[in-house]
Structure formats: structure tokens, C-alpha cells
């Protein structure tokens, strides 16, 4: 489904639903639909951060509650009109979320379940504050006396329309993000945040804005809901169960899809509403628990994932890939000026001095081999240069700019890309999207341009037939080439290859060597770390030898291999 078609569908659905109150159906239907909108808003807003980027928040009730109590306090204690309190409700929640995100997202280790627990704790802290201050104070807040304006009918109808508007807003935002660079970046964060950052995704900013938006929508629907229930208590509003219900709906529908949470919200709300009443209410909850378990275990991508899989399988046969053979053109450049310079670079891990003052230079247009025994600091150097580790001392200059303390995604933007010793792909994105992501963030392209560039890079690396596969389905060589295609797609001026050849068969190695040479022929400077001396001799213009975190030799390959220090420290016998 194209973006325009989806948007059109959303608008039509919203307009039709807006007309429902005019039918004068029994009040039950209107309040049922209100609840559907309510849960669509909560589940979809939760999904914008937690589903897309994989930061599971158990604290959605906290931001929802912030909205509820903002409206409750403003309308009762300060006599602010209800409608005016709503933007405030959203903003207070968004502000709260931003402050929390600004602190939390700076700590690299708080991911996955730890982030979940942290947000859970935020819920309890906020509820304690509300309970013990004049926000609530214990007995709860009554809003029955607050007037609700009549826009298109009775006050209840106003609430209906407001909730519909928020649900529409939430779904529209989810769709827009899903189709944008931003959404692609969030998906990459979910699969491998470090790699995403190195490919140029501004992870911190993306997560922060997604969180703020998610909280804003939760706060907005909270403000409306305060008026819907007319009596709010801390125990009912700051309920962890509310966050979990939203999570459950999103998981049921499919967290990887913009419409997944809405689908889940409709299913669950309908289930609970149709089964409520009397004795069965208890068993009904048990049934929901069972449904939740069954879905998580048997449909890991949710109902939407299941639907799409059937749809895809049918569509797949008719699609054929027309691959471009030519690699995209690359800007011409002058030869042998220094592109990257490291001056006295130091990095220690606790007591271990991995880099003890490394000074080296990479010239534009060359292939530089970086060799040395295990533990000599080769990979650490790559990690430091690409911005994954922060240096302890020294300067790293890329094209005249000191990048020693620059965040990884900015270094990527300056034209640096890398591969990993053990290939790291975004395992939930297709091979094509893995590469498209790099093109979008490295070359500043939109989604469509990124994809078409990605196809030509796949052709360049011989992977075009696997464009729609998931990385998990590739063999080792293909995954290494995927890593490479991804690095190249970001249009780097300098690419760092970490043991691209290890583990390959001799025939595969010949292919890989040819590929590396073609990369250089396009004008990209190459630094490669390698243990296979045949490849080093064959490929490198110059060689730098690291040992114990220091440069012990550099020069032409054949010269360096005969250097007595190098032979003693690394080779054991003279090559060449």
C-alpha cells in the first residue's frame, strides 16, 4: 500500500466515524467507539517509540496520567476551559517525557528490559507524587462540574469527536514516521543501535523526539479521558496494567506495522466489551491473558505480520528484480593527499592500554593494510576512528577536521564507513533495506532514492538476487558483502574493513579481493585489517604494523614484511 493510499484510507475512515453520532444510535455504541479510539491512541502512541525503536516502555501510564492530572488540575483548581487544557495536557506529558529521555538516552547501557523497568519506576514515582500533593491528595478529583463545550452535539459527542481526532492524529503520525527516514532509523535502532549510529543515524535525537511525540499523544488522550470518566483516582490512572494493556494490543496487532497497534486495540476492545458482564468477566480476563500468550508465542510479528506474510507470498512470484550493473558514480579526487591522520591516539580499557599513542596517516586514494598480532589494537583503532569508542588522548583528523570527540553519526556524515569482523546486519530489515538505510543516512537521500541506489550497490557486490531476503538467510560471504555494500552505500570517502577475508574459501577470497580493488578504483580510500598475508601483499599499497598498541613499522608491503621487528613481533618468518 502506498503512503497516499493509506493516508486516504485513514481520512475516509475518520470522516465516516465522525458521522456516526448523527445516526442517533443507542449511547452504548458511542461509548464503545470512544473506548476503541482511546485504546488506538494509547497503543499507537506507545508503538511510536517502543515498537519502532524497540525501547519497551512500561511507563506509558505515567505520561497518560500526566495528561489526565494536568486537565483535572487546570479545569478544577484554575477554572481553565476544558478545551484549552488539552494542549497543556499533551505538552506537560511531552515535556516530562523529553526530560526523562534526555537523561536516560545518554546512558548507553539502559536498553531493553532495563529501560522497561526504569519507565515502570517512573510510573510509581509520579503516582506517589500525585497521591501526596495537592494534585490529588488521596480522595481523587471530580470533574463532573466542569463544563464540556457542545461542538457537534451533546457533551458526550464532543468527547467522542475529540478522541477520534487524537486516534487519527496518532495513526497518521505513526504512518508518516513509518514511511520516513526517521522511521527507517528507528527500525535500525531496534535491530542494532551501535551500527545504526555508525551508519549516520542520529540515534539520540531520533529516540528523544519519538519519545516526546509518543508522550504528547498519551497526554492528549489522557486530558480527554479525564473528562470522560469525570472522576479520576491515582490508583486507576497510574496503573501499570494500563501500560501493559497498550503493550498487549500493540504486540497482538504487530509492533512492526503502523496500523498494528490500532488493529490490536480494535480486537481486544471488542473482545472485552462483548464478553463483559456477570460471572464471565473474570474468565474473560483469563481469556485475554491466554490470547496474549498465544499471540506472542505463535505470531511474533502480530496479526498484521501474519496478514502481510500471506499477502507477500502471493505477490512474490510476480516480482522480478531488474538490477543495475553499473555502480553509482563517485566524485573524482586528487591523489595521495592525507585523508585521515592519527596523532598519538590513546585508548585504555581499565588497566589494558589497547592503543598506546598511535600515529599514522592514510592518504587519499590508497589501500592501506593494517596488520599486527591479535590484541595489538587494530580493531580498537577502527572502533576509535569510527567513533564507537571515545579516545583517551590524541587527535584524529579526517580531511582537516578533528573528529576525536565527535559522535559516530556525525563522523559517518563526514564520509567514513566501516564493516565488522563478525558481520552485523539489521536482522529484521531486508537485505535491500539494510543497504537503503545506509544510502539514506550516508548520502542524505529520501526513501525511494535510497532504495534505488541500494539496488545498484547490491548489484556491485553481487547480492542483487538476495535483495528481499532477510540477513539471517545469507551465508557468511554474503553477509560480509552485505556489510560491505552497506558501508559503500553511505558514499564514504574512507572505508574501514575489519577482516573482510577471514573465514572465506580461496575462491571466495579471490572474489573479495577483486571487489576491494574495484572499490578503490571508484576513488574510495580503503583501510583494511587482515591476517592473511597473501591478501595483504596482493592488495595493499602501503602497510602499517601495530604491536602492543603502537606502530612498529610502516612502508611498502614487501619492505615491511622483511623488517626484523615485524618478523619477531608478528610473522615468525619472513614473507617475501
Amino acid at each position: 500500500m502506498s503512503t497516499r493510499l493509506s493516508t486516504l484510507g485513514l481520512v475516509v475512515a475518520a470522516l465516516v466515524l465522525a458521522l456516526v453520532p448523527a445516526l442517533k444510535l443507542p449511547a452504548f455504541y458511542e461509548s464503545f467507539l470512544y473506548l476503541v479510539f482511546f485504546w488506538i491512541s494509547l497503543a499507537t502512541s506507545w508503538n511510536i517509540l517502543s515498537g519502532y525503536a524497540g525501547y519497551f516502555s512500561f511507563g506509558h501510564a505515567a505520561f497518560f496520567g500526566a495528561g489526565v492530572y494536568t486537565t483535572a488540575t487546570l479545569t478544577t483548581a484554575f477554572n481553565v476551559p476544558f478545551l484549552l487544557s488539552l494542549p497543556a495536557a499533551g505538552l506537560v506529558a511531552a515535556l516530562l517525557g523529553s526530560v526523562i529521555a534526555a537523561v536516560v538516552f545518554r546512558v548507553r547501557g539502559v536498553r531493553g528490559e532495563l529501560f522497561g523497568l526504569l519507565t515502570l519506576a517512573v510510573t510509581f514515582v509520579l503516582s506517589t507524587i500525585a497521591l501526596n500533593t495537592r494534585l490529588d491528595g488521596g480522595p481523587g478529583v471530580f470533574l463532573a462540574a466542569v463544563p464540556v463545550p457542545t461542538l457537534l452535539g451533546a457533551p458526550a459527542t464532543t468527547l467522542y469527536h475529540l478522541a477520534l481526532a487524537v486516534a487519527f492524529l496518532a495513526m497518521f503520525a505513526a504512518l508518516a514516521i513509518y514511511r520516513s527516514r526517521w522511521g527507517m532509523g528507528l527500525f535500525a535502532i531496534r535491530d542494532d543501535e551501535d551500527v545504526a549510529e555508525v551508519l549516520g543515524v542520529p540515534t539520540y535525537r531520533y529516540k528523544l523526539v519519538a519519545f516526546a511525540l509518543s508522550c504528547f499523544i498519551a497526554g492528549l488522550i489522557g486530558g480527554i479521558h479525564a473528562m470522560f470518566v469525570t472522576y479520576v483516582t491515582v490508583a486507576e490512572i497510574f496503573a501499570v496494567g494500563l501500560a501493559v494493556d497498550a503493550i498487549m494490543m500493540a504486540a497482538l496487532g504487530g509492533t512492526r506495522f503502523w496500523y498494528g497497534p490500532a488493529l490490536g486495540a480494535v480486537i481486544i476492545t471488542t473482545l472485552t466489551q462483548s464478553l463483559t458482564g456477570g460471572e464471565s468477566a473474570v474468565l474473560n480476563r483469563a481469556l485475554i491473558g491466554a490470547v496474549l500468550i498465544a499471540v506472542i508465542v505463535f505470531l511474533p510479528n502480530g496479526v498484521a505480520g501474519g496478514l502481510q506474510r500471506r499477502f507477500r507470498r502471493a505477490a512474490h512470484a510476480s516480482v522480478s528484480i531488474v538490477a543495475a550493473i553499473e555502480a553509482p558514480p563517485s566524485p573524482a579526487r586528487e591523489a595521495s593527499a592525507p585523508l585521515l591522520g592519527c596523532v598519538d591516539v590513546k585508548k585504555a580499557f581499565r588497566g589494558l592500554q589497547a592503543l598506546a599513542g598511535v600515529t599514522l596517516e592514510v592518504r587519499a586514494g590508497e589501500i592501506l593494510g593494517l596488520i599486527g598480532p591479535n590484541g595489538s589494537g587494530k580493531s580498537t583503532l577502527i572502533n576509535v576512528v569510527s567513533g564507537y569508542y571515545r579516545v583517551d588522548g590524541g587527535r584524529i583528523v579526517l580531511d582537516g577536521r578533528d573528529i576525536a570527540r565527535v559522535r559516530a553519526h556525525r563522523i559517518a556524515g563526514l564520509g567514513l564507513a566501516r564493516t565488522y569482523q563478525i558481520p552485523r546486519s539489521f536482522h529484521r530489515l531486508s537485505v535491500l533495506d539494510n543497504v537503503a538505510l545506509a544510502a539514506m543516512f550516508g548520502g542524505d537521500h529520501g526513501r525511494a532514492a535510497g532504495r534505488s541506489l541500494a539496488r545498484s550497490w547490491l548489484a556491485f557486490t553481487g547480492l542483487e538476487a538476495r535483495a528481499d531476503a532477510l540477513p539471517g538467510e545469507l551465508n557468511l560471504l554474503e553477509r560480509k558483502f552485505l556489510d560491505l555494500a552497506r558501508a559503500l552505500a553511505s558514499e564514504p570517502r574512507l572505508v574501514l574493513l575489519d577482516e573482510v577475508l577471514s573465514g572465506l574459501t580461496p575462491a571466495q577470497m579471490t572474489d573479495a579481493l577483486r571487489l576491494v580493488r574495484r572499490i578503490r578504483d571508484r576513488g574510495t580510500t580503503v583501510v583494511f585489517v587482515e591476517h592473511i598475508m597473501r591478501a595483504v601483499l596482493d592488495l595493499a599499497d602501503r602497510v602499517v604494523v601495530l604491536s602492543g598498541g603502537q606502530v612498529i613499522a610502516e612502508g611498502l608491503p614487501r619492505q615491511v614484511m622483511r623488517d626484523p621487528d615485524v618478523v619477531r613481533a608478528y610473522l615468525g618468518k619472513a614473507y617475501a
Binding site: G109, V110, V125, R285, A286
Partner: protein, 272 residues
């Protein structure tokens, strides 16, 4: 303060199973709390209907729960469930168990009348409830025993090795499946013990399942995953600071302490 110590004992009992399965099996078992309450209700039922001494009910309930834990872990292993999924699945289990409890025992409050609740001991100038004291003693004994077992026994070392690098431990001859089942069974049995003391010292209602989740999670994380001794220390520390907050300000502020602590510790030392 002493009351804080005793509450800490209960936190530690509830947290022990959680800490073991999370730290050593990578399963975040939210259902641990529901299981503890199921244990509490079973104790209540056996003690009131059959007139058994509450302590004696453990003879039946602990082995039964050990089996339940094994069955659950078997399911988790078969379905290859990861940490996040385990959290959601066990939440589903919690909801099912809650409904089950509510269906059998209704949503009304239940209170077990037992001699343990009524007897108080005199320790110098202080009166100490027997139930609370026993809970603390049980918590201290179980955490110490678990800690020593993990630290020194062959099985304990094997369990810790498996948690760090499962396939490698397997390559060195550790039967990981049986070890996982044993640990899960133990964790579930601990929930049964926690249930006994919940029944002895607290009023039971199905909704109470959720009341300790936050505090116990805080204790488990602050004490470090899989570290029984750390858990005990953290539980007592949290309970004591809660008691202190209650004494100094209004009782309502108590949760603020543990959760703020949890947030600060997560931010300062996120690596588990």
C-alpha cells in the same frame, strides 16, 4: 526499623525466584508474584478447611510448586523465549492466575487466623510479631543457602557458567536443560515459601498481586541479578528506608524511596 527488617525479609523471599530465573536463565518471571499469591491462598485453604498448621502446608505446596516451575521452564525452553517475550508471556500467566484466584476465592479480602499472627515475642523493649520474625529468618536462611550453593557447589558453579556462556558450559559437559529445570523448580518453590508468609502476615485479595512488583524488582536489580546475598541486603535496605520515610513524613511517600533508588542505580550502573 525492625518492622522494616521484617518487610525486607518478605521482599527477599519474593525476589529470590525472580533473581534466579532472571540472572541465570534469562527469564523475567512476572508470574512469580501470582504464584506466590496462589501459594498464599492454598495455605489459607489448607489451614482453614483442614485445620492444618500453616507451616505443615509447605510439605504439600512446595513440591507441587517445584513441579509447576519445571513445567513452565520446559515450555519456555521448547518455545525458545527470550527475556522480553518472557516478560510478556509471564504477564499473561499472571492475568490468568489472577482470574483463577478470583474465580475460586472471589475478590473479597481473606485473612488467615493462625497462632503465628497473634503471638508476639519480647525482645528487650520491643514487641516482635512471630510471623514477621519467621519470615525474616526464612528469608535469611534461604538466601544464604542459595548464595552458598551457587558459589561453592558443582551445580551452582555450572549454573553460573551456563548463564555467562551457555554453549560453552554445555561443551564442558554441563547438562543445561536439567540445570535450567532445577533452577526454575527451585525459584517456583521459593515463591511457595513467600506465599506462606504472605498468608501469615497479610490480608489476601487477588488485586494485591501487583502491589509488591515494583519494590521487589528494585531489590532484585539493586542486589544484582542472580546474587542472593545482594538481594537480601538490598531488600532490607529498601524496607528500612521505606520505614524511615514513613516515620519521618507521611506513609504515602514510602514508595518514592525505592523507586528513586532504582532509577538512580539503573542510570549510574546500567550493566547487569
Amino acid at each position: 526499623m525492625l518492622a522494616g527488617l521484617f518487610t525486607g525479609g518478605l521482599y527477599a523471599l519474593l525476589g529470590l525466584g525472580l533473581s534466579l530465573t532472571w540472572g541465570l536463565l534469562r527469564v523475567i518471571n512476572l508470574a512469580n508474584f501470582a504464584l506466590a499469591f496462589l501459594g498464599a491462598y492454598l495455605t489459607y485453604q489448607l489451614a482453614t478447611a483442614l485445620g492444618l498448621d500453616p507451616m505443615l502446608t509447605l510439605v504439600v505446596i512446595v513440591p507441587a510448586f517445584f513441579l509447576v516451575g519445571i513445567v513452565l521452564e520446559e515450555g519456555f525452553l521448547r518455545l525458545r523465549i527470550d527475556e522480553l517475550t518472557s516478560l510478556i508471556v509471564t504477564f499473561g500467566l499472571t492475568v490468568i492466575l489472577e482470574s483463577l484466584i478470583q474465580w475460586i476465592w472471589t475478590a473479597d479480602f481473606r485473612r488467615l487466623e493462625s497462632p503465628y499472627a497473634r503471638v508476639s515475642l519480647r525482645l528487650g523493649p520491643l514487641f516482635v510479631g512471630l510471623g514477621g520474625l519467621l519470615a525474616f529468618v526464612a528469608a535469611a536462611l534461604l538466601t544464604l543457602a542459595t548464595w552458598a550453593w551457587l558459589r561453592w557447589s558443582y551445580l551452582g558453579k555450572a549454573a553460573r557458567a551456563s548463564a555467562q556462556d551457555g554453549p560453552m558450559a554445555g561443551a564442558f559437559g554441563v547438562n543445561r536443560r536439567r540445570l535450567a529445570l532445577l533452577l526454575a523448580g527451585l525459584s517456583s518453590a521459593y515463591a511457595a515459601v513467600a506465599g506462606l508468609f504472605i498468608a501469615l502476615n497479610h490480608t489476601l485479595a487477588p488485586s494485591q498481586i501487583y502491589s509488591w512488583i515494583g519494590v521487589v524488582f528494585a531489590a532484585v536489580i539493586i542486589g544484582r541479578l542472580g546474587n542472593a546475598l545482594g538481594l537480601l541486603a538490598a531488600s532490607v535496605f529498601i524496607a528500612a528506608s521505606e520505614a524511615l520515610t514513613m516515620a519521618v513524613t507521611a506513609p504515602g511517600w514510602a514508595p518514592l524511596v525505592s523507586f528513586t533508588l532504582l532509577i538512580v542505580i539503573l542510570l549510574l550502573r546500567p550493566e547487569l
